[in-house]
Amino acid sequence: MQPGLSFEQAPPISVPFRFFLTAPLFGMAAGLLLLWQGPAALASRWTSVALALTHLLAVGFMLQAMCGAMLQMLPVAAGANIWQPRRVTQLTHAGLTLGTLLLLAGFLAEQALFFRIAVPFMTVSLGAFALIVLIALFRTPAQGPTIIALRIAVFGLIVTITLGATLATGFGWQLALPLTEITHVHAAWGLGGWSMLLVAGVAYLVVPMFQLTPPYPAWLTRSFSITLFFLLTAWSLTWLPLQRPDDLQVALACAAALLAVVFAVVTLRLQGQRRRKVSDPTLLFWRLAMVCLVVAAFAVILQQMNPAEEDYVGTPFLLGALLMVGVFMPVISGMLYKIMPFLNWMHLQKIGKPGLVVPNMRQMIPEPRMMMQFRLHLAALLLLLGAVPLPFLVYPGGLALIASCIWLEWNLIVAARNFARFSRELEERLAAAEQSG
């Protein structure tokens, strides 16, 4: 072992940690909103409560964790260096944290002022993040399906931000925009173009790496991201204010959903073929996410085939719970349980010297604690899905969601505290070794 080797490419550990420690707080806030509003939260996807809830999870939890992971992952896993990492981090973190609060206030108070502040603030901070990351992704010498998927994903994020800013401008200045159409396209790019492609790009790397599976088949990694991108683009064009080609729109949406099923099934198969048949929390979170992705995709297909059912009030809540609580929150939780210990380990290596053993990755977060959060999250998901036919379940569902996010937050704090403790111990041992030597 030669810990004198340099790890300079990695940004300071505080860069990703601040995003990861903030994300669960918004998950808790979403749970509180569910408790406060009760079954009213399920009434329609267009109520201010539903919009606030969606953005607490999509921006407050998901985007927050995803941006932190992206800033960390690009230099480490993709060899792409971010311009001005400290400033970009501060701007992005402020944009996400204050931006989520502004959107929450705007939706719940129905005050145009909040949207008028949110539009320039979030467009500049998140837009700058997306552009800087996109440039880094085009300048990296690294190649391969992950880089291609990430480039398209960040393009998808830019589309999502642009459409979101357009919608918020509509709310802020009471403009007569086709809000329904823009919202459909905004949500599809946010969940499909950005989140799904980011998960796919990351999965190509981390599923074989951390779950010890065979690699993804080349036919999938070569075609998945580009096909999803074209399907989404074509589908979005069908929403333009022309004679709307209904059949084509349904066909494109179903094709995109089937593509997601293919990705999920391939991932589940790979996980079934893993070399060491041990289960760890990350594996369970990812398997849950892939099962939910299959169910959500078939729900989308059913909904598309039966347009009359679109107005059934439970459908949007069902899809939202499946995709956000069932797919993306578990993927993110599972990843955080690998990323935080790995970052701890890597940054501790920087302190070390020959002969000084750095604590193992497994010592960073106790596994039973992570398993407990998995169970809480699974309970939250099942209760929230159950709330569609039995609305009173929204109360225990909201409580379970809060509990899951508190557990996640505490586990991440444990990891951060262990990093501080281990680095102190290493430095003390180093100092002692120098004195005696």
Binding site: M1, Q2, P3, L5, S6, F7, E8, Q9, A10, P75, V76, A77, A78, G79, A142, G144, L205, P208, M209, F210, L212, P214, P215, Y216, A218, R275, R276, F342, W345, M346, M361
Partner: protein, 73 residues
């Protein structure tokens, strides 16, 4: 390529392959090559190799295995 100069990191949990590689580089004689087998391109390792005076070349087998050959620059 002798057996002891090959590290098969495909069934190992990160960061074990990196730890083994760095340890093996400590005892790698000049002019000799170390072969690392993985299912990914190890970007963090590449950064470390470059900054510490090692060169590497990699090629991908049809089954997705990446062969990484490392030697002193």
């Amino acid at each position: 390529m002798s057996e002891e100069r090959t590290i098969d990191g495909r069934g190992l949990m990160p960061p074990e392959p990196m730890e083994l590689t760095l340890a093996a580089l400590d005892t790698l004689p000049d002019g000799e090559e170390l072969l690392l087998l993985l299912y990914v391109e190890p970007q963090p390792l590449y950064g470390i190799l470059k900054q510490n005076g090692y060169t590497h070349r990699s090629q991908t087998r049809p089954d997705g295995t990446v062969e990484i050959y490392i030697r002193k620059a």
